[in-house]
């Protein structure tokens, strides 16, 4: 390939010619090709490759950002599951997943995967200079992204109401009891000032299923009494919702699961918001024909890369956060 460079070039003539040409060039500076082609690129294909490469470099840093969070997830899942197993308790990740709304999580996965298809199609039609289809697909993508965030907001609101948000609203005892779980806190399962695996060696009484069950029945009775006090219909409803006793879960460890859950889905949601913001600007540009008049579809393609990346993050988040099982 070095053959190209050493091929004889008629330099003086070329320079002279270039001078003459530049005299008439309004842009000057050796401008070449279409207007969107930056002067430091030889041609559109090279600019496209450079843009892609730059976006991939950015996405590598993004992978490392999310990677650190996935590492935290994995580490604590391992440590807490081992501790829970050793102390005869339930995995806090399993219980935490169980309390999340799997239907909403599944719907969101569906919405996001569909939006990935529409973005891929938008890039496709931008390349074909089809302004109408490009605009339609970008619009659909924006709506899907907004629906995703809306569902997320509904989910987070429900979590807040149920007392599952560490720091803001953390009181999961009731919702745990509804699903058949008992919360172990630093004051112990039955106020024994002992929490397995958290504060020192077990005293005389080791937490057994019996202890947890007694606690569970106590919570259940309280709730039934409360429900009866507020109204008969609600009492019947509350009774139906109650699950058979399943086991004890370490409250502090489950709190960590929710910290990780909100951090990861929160960072993902921030990326979605940025994506929607960019997409809104791009829809504005697309309406004026910026991507289709001159075949400058590169911004759409780069945006597509970003959107697909955010989609991939969710592809991993969904099974890891929502599809845990209580064993």
């Amino acid at each position: 390939m070095s053959n190209i460079a050493i091929e004889p070039i008629e330099r003086p003539a070329a320079v002279e010619h270039s001078h003459a040409a530049h005299g008439h060039d309004a842009h000057g500076g050796g401008h070449h090709g279409p207007a969107f082609l930056h002067h430091h690129f030889a041609d559109v294909a090279q600019q496209r490759e450079s843009n892609q490469l730059g976006m991939w470099v950015f996405m590598v840093t993004e992978i490392m950002t999310f990677g650190a969070l996935f590492f935290v997830y994995t580490l604590y899942r391992h440590l807490y599951s081992v501790q829970a197993y050793e102390n005869g308790m339930l995995s806090p990740y399993g219980v935490g997943s169980h309390l999340l709304n799997n239907n909403l999580g599944f719907t969101n996965t569906l919405v996001l995967l569909t939006s990935s298809l529409t973005v891929a199609a938008a890039v496709h039609y931008a390349g074909l200079k089809d302004k109408k289809k490009l605009l339609a697909l970008m619009g659909v993508t924006w709506i899907l992204g907004f629906v995703f965030l809306g569902i997320k907001a509904v989910e987070w609101h429900a979590d807040y109401e149920e007392g599952l948000v560490p720091g803001l609203s953390w009181n999961p005892r009731t919702v745990l009891a509804e699903h058949g779980f008992v919360l172990a806190t630093p004051t112990g399962v039955q106020g024994e000032a002992y929490l397995p695996g958290l504060n020192g060696a077990p005293p005389t009484a080791v937490v057994t299923e019996g202890n947890g069950e007694a606690m569970y029945n106590h919570t259940l009775e309280t709730m039934k009494a409360e429900a009866a006090a507020t109204g008969g219909a609600e009492a019947g409803h509350a009774e139906e919702a109650h699950h058979a006793y399943r086991g004890v879960v370490n409250g502090n460890h489950m709190q960590m699961f929710y910290v990780i859950y909100f951090t990861m889905t929160g960072l993902h949601a921030i990326h979605m918001i940025i994506g929607l913001f960019l997409l809104a600007i791009y829809i504005f540009h697309a309406r004026r024909g910026m991507f289709t008049n001159e075949a400058n579809d590169q911004p759409v393609e780069i945006f597509g890369l970003y959107w697909h990346f955010v989609d991939i993050v969710w592809v991993f988040l969904y099974p890891l956060l929502y599809l845990g099982t209580v064993q």
Binding site: I4, E7, I9, A14, H17, S18, A20, A21, G30, H31, H32, G33, P34, H39, A42, D43, V44, A45, Q46, R48, E49, Q52, L53, W56, M59, V60, E62, I63, M64, G67, A68, F70, T74, L75, T109, L113, T114, S116, L117, V119, A120, A121, V123, H124, A126, G127, L128, A295, D297, L305, H308, F309, I312, V315, F316, Y318, P319, L323, T325, Q327
Partner: protein
Amino acid sequence: MANPTEQRLTNQLEHPQETAGNVGHAGSGTGPDSGPHEHNQDHLDEHTHHVSMGTYYAVFAFLMVMLMLTVGAWWIDEYKFPLGHWSIPIAVGIAAIKSIAIVLIFMHVKFSSRLVQIFACTGIVFMGIMFVLTFNDYFTRGWVPIAGR
């Protein structure tokens, strides 16, 4: 010859006087603007539309099947028989297959230049290094007694 860079270089070899990118020649910024190379650019730059919409639909259908598999595996785990230690590897494995499909087709990495392909792999390689080294630290703590502790 799906690779745009290779295509450009081949074109440079075959038509050095007309091809953009050769020093002192058309499109290099050091030579005069000429008519033919604009046509060349359009010809070379057919990046985003070598995948047909049919391929995208196929990938989407594949993703949907994989999503059903993920949920199916969870359903078996929760209601039929516990998969135990296998539930996480199965879930992450399916997610990895899904992402590979997205990266290769939706993100065009399959049709990109070799350099972009290498960078696409870099992220996962460095994440692997981070996981391995940091777990090395966490899981070997307390193995070796430290003086003064």
